[in-house]
Symmetry: C2
Subunit: 177 residues, 2 copies
Amino acid sequence: MSTLAIPETLSVILERKSVRTYTGQPVGEEHIKWILQAAMAAPAAVHKFPWKFIVIRDSEMLHYLAGGLPFAKMLAEAGTAIVVCVVPQEAFAGKTELAVIAGACASQNILLAAEALGLGAVWTALYPDPELMQFVRTELDIPDTVIPLNIIPVGYPSGKDKATAKYDAANIHWEEW
Amino acid sequence: MSTLAIPETLSVILERKSVRTYTGQPVGEEHIKWILQAAMAAPAAVHKFPWKFIVIRDSEMLHYLAGGLPFAKMLAEAGTAIVVCVVPQEAFAGKTELAVIAGACASQNILLAAEALGLGAVWTALYPDPELMQFVRTELDIPDTVIPLNIIPVGYPSGKDKATAKYDAANIHWEEW
């Protein structure tokens, strides 16, 4: 029996779901700003922050990107998209691995902040697929030295998408492997 | 002026800090289990979950690991450590990049869950440093096919460590790069 009152944050972490269907209601700019604040509150090695965020709200562009990205067909319906980019040269020791890790942590904060605000979001991957990265680079004028990690649609959830149980005690080792 | 009431989760995300000094008070097993639940609630590409978690509470081992890891000297003081590992073969398409990203998202959930529970934690990196990874692999019997991503001390914070302001509007691009 649990004796621990579960903080709201834990509930949000556990209930967060990948949202792929949206109502179409536009997301307010204030919400987007909170989400970006959350993104930049992530950790990064030696406080070298290699992340950049492209916010896209133009309907024509969202439709165009959706047309070229097989796993991001819902971009236009969501109404807002955030492309999380990382610049390896700006990471500690110029390491791509550390840039990607910082970008992943920032992305996870985006997903959680959206959930906390009653919005929905989902990580649709660009990296490490060379073709998907190049398509987005070309369309959004992203330099070749920058890695577009993912494109995250953000919108009001339809309610159809549910969290799935992913806990597996077999993934836990005690004291050693 | 903000018209938006900030959810607790957003406050936790924004106030989360890297905790490097601890009181020494032991962390209860229930807290560790919530933290591991949070870890496994992270997203992973195509629902292929490549993560494993080694929980270390043995004082002798924590001292030993602290001795070999220059950025993890506080392990013994924290009292608990979680080594986040990923198995590339278990990630979608066997891709190391996707394994590392999933492990990073799980790690970020660990850091946030600790903060939400009134505990402190900090990402001390092993990957991509070959020597640090090998030291931990050897000591904890981790197979060569597994990447030990980081070692995260978890304990009660001394109160000395504070969140730092990392928001920078220059990292945001609107509509295109």
